[in-house]
């Protein structure tokens, strides 16, 4: 089920609120959350609900074993983390491995009939973070499997993040406060996310799809418009989901950490990754990069660490080599920044710093979007004008030109300008009312667009 479906908005959500607030008891409320989360998950692929139940039971049990058998902690952790990784590997990467081997060795292997369970990358990483945190003594393992289940399967962040670590909501699982103020703040955040997804991300998506589905034969202008649209789409799509997840969490009394902090205003690639998908980058930092030695190792080892971390980051996003290329591309940029680029860039005007970083995003998303390696070169060529500049009429022919004002909306929306403005305006009663009217209008408009439009899943569902 997706947040932008009518079933979710008008059947699932009201029913969930009713069932949830019917009970006063915390335990019962957690049980309600677990049940509706499993129902939410089973909506798309009922068979795979078994996987998440197995994951809940397994990780709950392993965490308890970790504290009970201290002599075997390391082995138990290895088994626990290994089991999670094997599960992820089997369901996500079997096809990729077999396909790659087949291409490399021409073995003519049959393609495995394994479908990717939605959100497996997210809940597996949450489970791993839980086990490691228990092992490190950062959290006390949850003794109640239903409570742990409510954490791991919580529908608000189940299928596209953010990757919420147990320690972030450890207290709230057992004692949290739901109240009207929190509920409405959550509703506001949810409405904002809905608008970002339905109005901006989907519009940008339609532009990107129309241009990029033509193949790399367009002129430079359409190619840049296409990838710029995709650059905005992926940000608004994913950050919208995070907004909705954070908003939903808040309605139920949870406070998830922010997952995005206006990444496109970054002045360096390093800063970008501090602002983009924060829960994932901090996961990789805390559970892979630092255990590997981080940057407190020899330069050669550090380069290897970077390659490993960014290769895995890429692969986490999808079972295709273009994602690995995308990850390594960022690894290379970050390494260059650390070694010399940052020093150079600090000497140039800020506008040039921004320009460089924005260009690096756009090229980065090219590797991300174009899965077919043979087309990547073609698109790079198109962007530098191998087919000429292209006439704006081509955009017209592709029926995207009339949406150009959305680029301005998206560009402004990618900066904290509107958010800061709203913060100031809300300080006055009238301003507050206006902001709420605006939120209400966004909510109605988004619902109408959903009712009129078709199904548009979130990009990050596939990861």
């Amino acid at each position: 089920m997706v947040f932008t479906s009518l079933v979710f908005l008008f059947l699932f959500l009201p029913a969930t609120f009713t069932a949830y607030f019917l009970f006063r008891d915390r335990a019962m409320r957690n049980v309600v959350l677990l049940i509706v989360s499993l129902l939410f998950y089973s909506w798309g692929e009922p068979r795979y609900v078994v996987l998440i139940i197995v994951s809940i039971i397994m990780n709950w049990g392993i965490a308890l074993l970790l504290v009970r058998h201290t002599n075997w902690r390391r082995s138990i952790l290895t088994i626990g983390v290994g089991a999670n990784i094997v599960g992820l590997g089997v369901f996500k990467y079997t096809g990729f491995l077999i396909g790659s081997l087949d291409r490399l060795l021409a073995l003519n292997l049959p393609a495995p009939n394994i479908f990717l369970p939605i959100g497996i990358s997210f809940y597996t990483f949450q489970a791993i973070s839980y086990l490691v945190d228990v092992y490190r003594g950062h959290v006390v393992p949850q003794k109640n499997p239903l409570f742990f289940g409510a954490y791991l399967a919580l529908f608000a962040k189940l299928i596209a993040g953010p990757i919420v670590r147990y320690r972030q909501i450890e207290t709230e699982i057992v004692s949290r406060r739901e109240n009207l103020g929190e509920f409405v703040e959550g509703l506001r955040r949810f409405a904002l996310g809905l608008g970002k997804k339905v109005l901006i991300a989907d519009t940008m998506g339609s532009i990107a799809d129309k241009i990029l589905s033509t193949g790399p034969y367009v002129g430079a202008i359409p190619a840049w418009v296409g990838f710029t649209a995709y650059t905005f789409q992926i940000y608004f799509d994913f950050s919208a989901y995070s907004d909705m997840a954070i908003g939903l969490g808040r309605m139920f009394g949870f406070h998830f950490l922010e997952n995005f902090n206006y990444p496109y205003v970054a002045r360096s690639v390093t800063e970008f990754w501090r602002r983009w998908h924060i829960s994932l980058s901090s996961f990789f930092r805390d559970y892979i990069y630092i255990p590997l030695g981080g940057n407190r190792v020899s330069q050669g080892r550090w380069v290897v660490n970077m390659a490993v971390v960014w290769g895995i980051t890429g692969l986490w996003h999808g079972d295709s080599w273009n994602f690995v290329l995308w990850g390594l591309y960022y690894g290379l940029l970050l390494a260059c920044e650390k070694l010399f680029l940052r020093t150079w860039m600090e000497k140039v005007p800020r506008i040039l710093q921004h320009t460089f970083v924005i260009l690096s995003f756009v090229f980065g998303w090219l590797f991300f979007r174009i899965e077919d390696f043979s087309l990547i070169g073609g698109w790079l060529g198109a962007m530098v004008g191998t087919h000429g500049w292209g006439h704006p009429m081509t955009l017209n022919a592709l029926n995207v030109l009339h949406k150009y004002l959305w680029f301005i909306v998206a560009a402004v929306g990618s900066t904290p300008v509107v958010s800061n403005l709203f913060k100031d305006v809300r300080k006055t009663p009238l301003g507050g009312l206006l902001v709420d009217l605006w939120t209400g209008a966004i909510l109605i408009w988004s619902v109408l667009e959903i009712a009129l439009g078709g199904f548009s899943p979130f990009i990050y569902f596939q990861f």
């Binding site: 798309g44 030109l401 709420d436 109408l448």
Partner: protein
């Protein structure tokens, strides 16, 4: 604090209203009468082509995912404000987009041509153009459906000859021949799609498209500069192709009607459909050219509501009685407008065959040429048939009642390859 509470209540109330509206919609699908909201009184099942209803929940359905899929469908069908909202939202969105395009150079915008200086210069010549149709997956699916329909009727009527003849829009020709400015290669799929259509048709259905195999420059001359139709010389070339298509099936329909001379209809300044739609493009004009053809004697009857009208006004124009007005549709006036059913009767034919032409306005100027080879020719325009005749067109009944020996589907690519007209055919065939 009070303000905070008021604002909170506002958002909560709004959410409740939205949810209530949705629930009312669901009740409507469930058959529970809801009088609180305005009902569209529209038959949902007729619009949707399926009965909107919530599925019965069973474990098997749930596990197989069909319950969920049907629930999504039912929820989508259940918003009671949907139909009223569509025109409202579409209107404002269109207005917004149109206004935003006003800021851009006119030559970029999709409603080309849109103003005084808006033209595209191709090979040194001003051209008024619209954007070409892009052959995307959806259109290709429609083509498969259309081809399936033609094959089906050809199988049902083995004794009748079937022909399909497509006319590309000028922009499609341009895109295909890489003349369209900055056209990406994908736009050239028009050519491939049009050609691929042949492969989808069984041998008993003859198929061709206007200008095929001819140099692009020549084919461009088939069209008016300011109108989407073929000029008379262009239509004549298309007719010659059609004559070849029919003759190649071993049918003796006589020789091609010869054109004794071409002449420009005097005192006519033609600003065609593209000029009219442009909102006043004036600098580009066309000449109305006609031919003097060696046609056999023929009788023309317009059936239905157009009965008694003159099919064309050549004599009227010749007499100098020319409709005035800046944007007069001289194509429609001179060659005759669109009617549901027009019948031509010709006695001097080499073989007594009856032709049914199902076509759009592209046929208007070539009617007498095609009719010259058949004893009875019926030209049907499905867009007008039911209105003009008072009953719906039925292909099977028409063939059997009028002894039709040859059926020609003629028109723009989008018509003959599966737009609404093609869909209507298919529905009747099913």
């Amino acid at each position: 604090m009070k303000n905070l509470r008021t604002r909170n209540l506002f958002l909560i109330s709004l959410s409740v209203v939205l949810m209530f509206t949705a629930w009312a919609g669901y009740c409507r699908v469930l058959g529970i009468q809801t009088h609180i909201l305005s009902d569209t009184s529209t038959d949902l099942s007729r619009i949707l082509g399926r009965t909107p209803a919530f599925p019965r929940p069973t474990l098997h359905r749930f596990l197989s995912g069909t319950f969920q899929a049907r629930m999504e469908n039912a929820a989508g069908d259940s918003i009671p404000f949907l139909e009223q909202v569509i025109p409202f939202l579409t209107y404002w969105k269109t207005l917004f987009y149109e206004l935003s395009l006003e800021v851009l150079p006119r030559s970029w915008s999709p409603a080309l041509p849109v103003g005084g200086k808006d033209y595209v210069r191709i090979r040194g010549k001003e051209q008024l153009l619209r954007t070409p149709v892009i052959y995307n997956t959806e259109i290709i699916k429609q083509m498969y459906k259309a081809a399936n329909y033609y094959n089906k009727i050809a199988t049902r009527w083995p004794e009748v000859r079937f022909y399909v003849f497509a006319i590309l829009a000028k922009e499609q020709v341009l895109a295909e021949t890489r003349i369209w400015p900055a056209a990406p290669t994908q736009l050239l799929q028009g050519h491939k799609a049009v050609d691929q259509f042949k492969a989808l048709l069984q041998n008993s259905v003859a198929y061709d498209w206007a200008g095929k195999g001819r140099p692009a420059g020549e084919v461009l001359a088939f069209y008016y500069n300011t109108d989407h139709h073929l000029t008379m010389p262009g239509a004549y070339e298309a007719y010659r192709q059609l004559h070849h298509l029919i003759s190649a099936r071993g049918i003796d329909i006589g020789k091609v009607v010869q054109c004794k001379k071409w002449f420009v209809v005097p005192n006519v300044v033609f600003r065609g459909s593209r000029s009219r739609r442009s909102g006043g493009y004036e600098s580009a004009t066309d000449k109305l050219v006609d031919g003097l053809f060696a046609l056999p004697y023929h009788k023309v009857t317009i059936h239905g509501s157009g009965q008694g009208q003159a099919r064309n006004k050549r004599l009227q124009y010749e007499a100098g009685d020319i409709p005035s007005g800046h944007f007069v549709n001289h194509y429609g006036e001179y060659f005759g407008g669109d009617h549901g059913l027009i019948e031509y009767v010709v006695d001097q034919v080499s073989e007594r065959r009856n032709l049914l032409v199902i076509a759009d306005s592209f046929k208007n100027c070539m009617e007498p040429l095609l009719a010259a080879h058949f004893s009875h020719s019926y030209f049907v325009d499905l867009r007008h048939f039911a209105d003009d005749l008072g009953y719906s067109f039925n292909l099977d009944a028409f063939i059997s009642e009028n002894g039709i020996t040859d059926v020609l589907f003629l028109g723009s690519v989008t018509t003959v390859m599966g737009d609404k007209t093609g869909q209507e055919f298919q529905e009747r065939a099913d």
